[in-house]
Every structure is written in C-alpha cells, then in structure tokens.
C-alpha cells in the first residue's frame, strides 16, 4: 500500500518549496468511554500549496472532516485527543499547539471555513447583513458603515442579485443556494489566505451545485487563495482540484496531482472509487463494487445492459391526472393553495424501472407518497389491477397496501431503533397474516435476510449495529416480506457512500431480475437514475417536463429544463481533458 503513496509535493516544484499549510503525521483520536479510544486519523501528512485547490476525498468515516476541524482547532475538547507529535504548520506556527486565543484570531481572518448545511450554519434570527458585518467588525476592526459597504461588495462578488436589498433579508427568506453564497461571502469577507470547504455542495440541488463550484473556482483564481475542498464525490473534485488526497479509514491511500490520480490511479481503493459510481456513458450489467478491486479481481469487461420500454409491455400501474395540494392558512379565514403536484400522468410497465428526477421542491417525493396514500391525493386516479387505488376506502386499500411498498431515503431514520431486525422483518407478515405461525415467519425472515446479503445473526441485532448500506438492505428485506408488485425507492441510495451505493443498486437490479418487480426510482442523482431506469420522467414545480426512454432523454433532451439539468451534472476529470 505504501508504494502507492506518492510524494505530495512532487508535481508542483515551485509551490512545494514553501506550501501554505503543511500537515505532518496528524493523529486524532476520540475517547468513546473510559477505556476505549477510537483513532479517527492515523498519522497523515500532506501539503496545501499556495494558490491552488487541494481536494480531500473519502467516504464517511474516512477522517476527512476530522482533519479539517483539527486544522481550525474546532475539535470538541472534551473527548478528542490530538497526538502531541502532530504538526499543522501554517506560516511557521504549529496550529496543533497554538493557544486558543491566537487560534481564534487566525480563524476567520486568515483561514476560514464553509460548512455543509447553510441552513443550520446561519443564525435564523439575525439578518444576513448583520452576520456578515459582525465578522468584518470583529476581524478587520471596521466601523459599522464601512462594514456594511464591504458586506454589500462581498455579496455582489459571490453573485447575490440586488445585494443592497438582500442584505437586510433573514436567512429563511433566501433560497438554499443563496444561503450558501452568503456563507461563502462570510468566509471570504476578511480576505483569508486559505478557505476550507467541507462538502459545500452536498446539500444543494445539482444545478445550484454547479453554480457554487464555479463560484469557488472563480474566487480561488481571482484572490489567489488556497482551497482545501473536502468531499465524498470524485466527480465534483475532478472539475476543480489541482491536487487530490484520497483517504480511507483515517489513512491516506493515495495523493498527487489531479491528472495523475484520475488518469493513472495506483491504489486499488482509488480505482474502485472511480469505477463504482454509475457513469453516464456506460451501463454494465452489474456495477463493480469495492471488494472486487481490493481483492484484486479488477475491472473485467462486463456486457452492457439494454434498457428501455417496449410499447407492448404490460402496464402495472396507470396514473392519470394526479394532483396534490397543500393549504396554508392566510389571514383569519383565508387559505392559500400550494399545488405540490399538478396533473401528473404516467404508466409503469411490469418489471421495468421508471426514474423520477427533479430538484428539491419539484414534487417527485410527493408523487411517491401520494401513490402509497401516505398523503391523500387531491385529484386523479391510480389504476392498479383495474381498480383505482386512490378512491378506495382505507379498509379496502389495506389489501392492496402490501402490493406497493416504499424504501425511504434515510436508512438511519426509517428503521425503529427499539426493534430488533427480526421484529422489523416479521412485523409486516404479522400484520398481513402472511405465514401460518411465528415459526414460518421466522423461517421466511431468515430466507429474505440471506437474499439481501445479510448474515443470519442479523436477525437478533438492533439497527444501530449496522452500517447505512446494511440498514438499507434491512429496509428492502422488510418490503420483500409482503411480495410487492411495485417498489417505490425514494432517494433510497442518496445517503449512501459511493461503494455502498453500487452494492445496493446491484441488489435492487438482482431482485428485479428475479421477481419481476416494477420500480419507481426517485432521485436527484442523474447518473444513478440513468443507470437503473428504463424510462425517465423529469419533474419541475410539480409538473412533468418530459418522459422518455432513459437513453433517449440523455442523448437527446427536448425541453430546455431537461437540457439545463443534464448540463449541470459534474463531468469529473473528463470535462477538463
């Protein structure tokens, strides 16, 4: 493994002589309880040269965020231990041992940070202008008037329209993308030499992600800052990074210039990361998974899977003019209607996958929940086996409930933490009277757990003992107990790491091949949708923009919105070369 690590500074000789930030043998551990210590970062070394972008890439638990917090001295003091031999050298000073007061002076003024969630990083009870001015007055010693003028300038620089008006807006009055722009404005207001961006685009829609990435790249060039960009997404990194550091389990697996890492990766893990993610250009029968690479099986040539819907495919679900409105109260008697879904019609063929893409607020999740009757539909019908699911009485619908099932986005939230996996999987069978007795149900649960690739011991465990991908498998097993015809996957793989995502997508595909399930696959991730779907439906503002076979829509989008959406997919390294 060690031979795979290249000297970090080699590619850029001039900058390497005097890098802005030099991390040497950084070790961070966390106290779990009195006797146990978890080592999150295990002795890593890398440099951040002046005027360049370094990307720190890794999946959850790789220690990438801990590294960034350690640089800023923001680790929780009560349970974190930074090894005394660690060195974080910035301007001749070791940040790891710097006293708190001096570190605070440095933070915000010379090194600043952008966090993942703009909604929670801004204080909702102060205007954005106030929060910007506060930073300026604190670090630059400006007067109130100077600070306000500068705040307007910075807001204009990060591309907020009408900054004179927006400066008095509260965070909730701005959109997610604008909030993130304000966060960036705050970070660069004091002209820092270094900007640490921790997953700054993960919570944003794909079109806004594109804008924010462009903004960060632009600011970096204009101000000649150094940017430490932390992300789990190699495609995002490919577009902006000069250097790439790949981390896993607290160790650096590979580092070097972006070109070298992307074109000739040396480490098996880096290779796996590059291959596991579904690509727009290829659609293998199965996605490669990380274990293949680690065990050295490597990427064999696999045949491509044909996709698409034939006109004579039998239809399982026929949705006509589906509409869903929410009412909010206005005034004393007034009600305002908000149409989340407007007049949506589509047909779902048996054994095929319908991909549903759109940005947040497009109504794609509402469509899924309405079909499950977790929301009551306002208008429209959904014909299943000749009957309208939406018009049935709840009692009648009970028999059909098991035929349509849903897998939620967050596997950490969708399993009851107080139930064992056995209880979770057998509960639906109990409710619907599947299996003659407890014995038969338990047998079935074991079979299904084996089917989704979980060991039998899992039956006795609690959800908190499993990783995200394993929990999603439990959720899938729970749905399978009812032998559904239609499975709605609501962002089911979005919260998972790239390597785990590939495994779950493979599992879903295997189940479709075996049982002939029909999927409605809801996602904001266009590459994943392209991989798994036969047909793609694009939604915007509650309406259908375009429906077509997935190859067709990606090759030849007809609507301008679809074109815009497809153009903002991060292309990765290929986009630059």
């Amino acid at each position: 493994m060690n031979d795979a690590i290249r000297p970090a500074a080699a590619p850029v000789a001039s900058a390497a002589a005097d890098p802005l930030l030099r991390v040497r043998d950084l070790r961070v551990s966390f106290r779990l309880d009195r006797d146990n210590v978890f080592e999150a970062v295990k002795g890593i070394s890398f440099d951040v040269p002046r005027d360049s972008t370094v990307a720190l890439v890794g999946e959850s638990g790789s220690g990438k965020s801990v590294t960034s917090l350690a640089i800023l001295g923001l680790l929780p003091p009560e349970n974190s231990i930074v090894d005394p031999r660690s060195e974080i050298l910035y301007g001749g000073r070791n940040l790891a041992t710097l006293p708190g007061a001096e570190l605070r002076k440095l933070r915000g003024a010379e090194i600043s940070m952008i966090f993942q969630e703009p909604m929670t990083s801004l204080n909702p009870v102060f205007t954005v202008g106030y929060q910007l001015e506060e930073v300026l007055m604190l670090h630059m010693g400006m007067t109130g008037r100077q600070a306000r003028k500068r705040a307007v300038d910075v807001m204009r620089e990060v591309g907020i329209p009408e900054p004179e008006r927006r400066i008095d807006a509260y965070p909730s009055q701005l959109s997610g993308g604008q909030q993130q722009r304000v966060m960036i404005a705050m970070a660069i207001a004091c002209e820092p030499k270094m900007l640490i961006a921790d997953e700054p685009t993960t919570a944003l829609d794909v079109t806004i992600q594109k804008q924010i990435l462009d903004l960060i790249a632009d600011l970096q060039k204009r101000r000649q800052m150094s940017v430490l960009f932390i992300t789990h997404d190699l495609a995002v990194v490919g577009e902006i990074a000069d250097h790439v550091v790949v981390m896993r389990h607290g160790e650096i697996r590979e580092q070097g210039a972006a070109r070298a890492v992307f074109e000739t990766p040396q480490d098996s893990y880096t290779k796996a990361l590059l291959q596991c993610r579904p690509q727009l250009t290829r659609r293998p029968l199965r996605l490669p998974v990380i274990d293949d690479f680690i065990q050295g099986v490597g990427p064999q040539h696999v045949e491509e899977r044909p996709r698409g819907v034939a006109p004579d495919d039998p239809i399982v679900l026929d949705v006509r003019n589906l509409g869903k409105s929410f009412w909010s109260r206005e005034g004393i008697f007034g009600k305002r209607e908000f149409k989340a879904v407007k007049d949506v019609s589509f047909k779902l063929p048996k054994g095929k996958t319908l991909g549903l893409v759109g940005e947040s607020g497009s109504g794609k999740t509402t469509v899924g929940l309405t079909l499950m009757r977790l929301h009551e539909a306002t208008t429209g019908e959904a014909i299943f086996e000749g009957r309208d699911l939406l018009a049935m009485s709840p009692r009648e619908f009970m028999q059909y409930k098991r035929r349509i099932q849903i897998i939620f986005q967050n596997p950490y939230a969708s399993l009851n933490p107080r139930f064992t996996v056995g209880q979770i999987v057998t509960e639906p069978m109990q409710i619907h009277g599947i299996g003659s007795n407890a014995q038969a149900r338990t047998e079935m649960a074991f079979e299904l757990l084996a089917k989704v690739g979980l060991p039998e011991v899992s039956f006795y465990k609690y959800p908190h003992e499993f990783s995200g991908g394993q929990r999603q498998r439990i959720a899938i097993a729970r749905c399978l107990t009812m032998k559904p015809d239609i499975l709605i996957c609501d962002e089911s793989v979005s919260a998972l790491d790239v390597s785990v995502q590939a495994q779950v997508l493979n599992l879903l595909q295997d189940l479709q091949d075996e049982f002939g399930l029909s999927y409605i696959f809801i996602s904001h991730d266009l590459a994943v949708v392209k991989y798994i779907s036969d047909q793609v439906m694009v939604m915007n503002n509650g309406e259908i923009v375009e429906i077509a076979d997935s190859d067709e829509i990606y090759r030849n989008p007809l609507q301008p919105y679809t074109k815009r959406l497809l153009a903002s997919i991060p292309k990765g390294w290929q986009a630059r070369s």
Partner: protein, 397 residues
Amino acid sequence: MATDLATLRSPVPPVRREIPHTVSPGLWTLGWRRLRSDRVGMVSLAIVALFILMMTLSGTGLVARDWAREVGVNYAPPSWAGAAPAGGLLATPDTGVVTQGAAGAPAPEFKSSVVDPLADVLAELKGEKPAGGASAGDEKSVDPLADVMADIRKGKPVAEAAAEERRATLPMGGDKWGRDVLKKTIKGSETSIFVGLASAFVATFLGSLFGALAGYYGRWVDDFFNWFYSVFSSIPDLLLILAVAAVLQQKGTMTIVLILGLTGWTGVFRLIRAEYLKHKSREYVQAADAIGASNPRRMFMHIFPNVSHVVLVQLSILVVAFIKAEVILSFLGFGVPVDVVSWGSMLNEAQNELILGKWWQLVAAGTAMAILVTAFSLFTDALRDALDPKLKGRAGA
C-alpha cells in the same frame, strides 16, 4: 442484570434452526451500561433502593410495626444528645395518665394513641350508634374519660407501671407522647414514598395518554386536549388541590394520591405531546404506515418505546416533586389523617415542638426527606444522561 433484561425482551420465539448468536444489547441495555458507569448515579440509585426497601419492610410490618407504642418519656431527647434536664421529666406523670387508655390496649398492632375522645359522642349524635347502647348509664355517655377516671379511682398503679417501661432517651428522641421518632420516621417513609410513587404513576399515565392522543391525532383531538390543559393550568395549583380534596370529602392516603395525580399530569402532557408531534412524521413511523400498521399499533408499539425515556425521566422528576408536595399538604393539614404518620404530619407536629426547643422530630423527618429527594434528583439526572446521551453534546467521530 443487563443480559437478563435483554433476554426477557427478546421477542424471538425459539427457532428450529438454532443459530449461534450473542444477545445484542438493545438501547435500554446500552442505557443501563452508561448508567452503571456513572458513579454518582449508582450511589443515588443505591440510596433510593434502600429507602424503597425500608418502605417495603415497614409496609409488610417487619420493621417499625410498633411505632405508636409510647416507649420513652414524652419529648425524650436523642440518646446521643444525653438525657433531658429535670424540667422535661417533670411533665411525665400527667400526660402519661391521659394517654394510658390507648397505650394499655392489648392489641398487637397499635393503630394510634391519638384517639378522638369525642368519637363515640359524634357517632351517637349522627345516629350511627344506637343511643340505647349507652345503657351503662347516662354518666358514661357524657364523660369520655369515665373509664380512665374509674381506673384511677380503683387505684390501679397505671402511672407507675407506664413510667417504669419508659426510657429517658431514645435513639432519635421521642415526640410529645414519647413515641420513638426513628420508628415514626421509618413508618412515615412508607406513606410519603408510597404517595410519591403512586401519584407520580397516576400523573405520568394520564399525561402520557393525553399527550400521545393529542400529539398523534392532532386536529380537533389536539385542540380539545390543549383547551382542557389550558383551563386546567389556569387554576392555581393549591386551589385545585383544595378543590379536589373538598370533592373527595375524606382524608386518606389514596385521596392524596388522587389529588396529586389528577393535578400533576400537565407537564408530562406538554412534553409527550411535543414528542409525538415530532415522531409521527419520522420515517420509521411512515414506514410502519406503509406496511399497514394500525394507528394504535403505531402509537404504542412504534412511537411509545422511542419516547419512553422521556416518560421515565418525567416519572422520576414527579416522584421527587410529589414527595415534597405530600409534605406540604400534610403540613397544611390537608394531608393524611391523624392516625397515619407521614413525614409531612411529623413536620406539622414539629412546628409546635420547635417552640419548646424540641428539634429532633424536625431533624429526623427533614433529613430523611432531604436525603431521599437529593438522591432521587441526582438519580434522575444520571438517568437522563444515560438514556439520552445526545443531550450531553457528544461529538461524533
């Protein structure tokens, strides 16, 4: 104990294929482990357990069964403070004689020495007792002390006999009638802790049930319970307690339990309602809806175990509050009847004794209560930390 708990709750019926597995720690087991590593919490738990053990022993009559026996001279000082000066002893003969009638009774368990001297008369006046019962003579029915006087006239050496048995000092001193304060405190704990626990159970049950219904169903159910809550909490607490006491019309331990239970559910209601509001839109509840779980099933099988730690913490907070409330009620005279002893009634007596400089009853009851309440509060804090570790602001790795 940790593994025992987990085994008990394990829902899995015995399977034909035996799969070797270790019992996985559930969230309760993990909570128990965290609690066990909390030294302060465990010490408090031990103290609380001791008190509850004491209460049980006293309730089953194994200790302090004869608390009402007048074993010492009246106002006997604590042994460790030394015998009282002569002035205190002088009071012995006359009071000893007055209470003799009760103390001399041969019954194995002493109800109380404080017998209402007018009880017979009142009963007669109310017509409950046939007036003819007093055939022994008019004189007796009028003079409640007739028997005693007769005894004295016969020249029974009662006073001397009683004085012989009585000790000059008692471990924690004696009260006005010479009863052992230590035993009184133990017997009093029975009432006080029972009232605290039982009324906390009643209040938490009502609060959780109303909160669950209001939070889960929302709409008019929520409006109704909120309205009920608002009206209820707009009345001053003490007034409410007096009103319930007036309606129930009888003094007794169960009355206090009802009073406190019926008035104390409001805080729990707000909290549980908020928890249910939060949880009902969680994905695991939606997932339960998707698999066809009914409303009651979602409410009590799915959500309740996830908010039960809040209920448990509220329960223990209420126990502390209600032990104190009982004391206040008894102090004000709305508490337990005269023939029952509780820490509150002891403090009530102590206010008169204090004027005479007899401080030990106050100290005994006060100390016992302070220790229990402090231990229980510390235990509650430890419990909350153990069950909701996120509150302590742990940073994730």
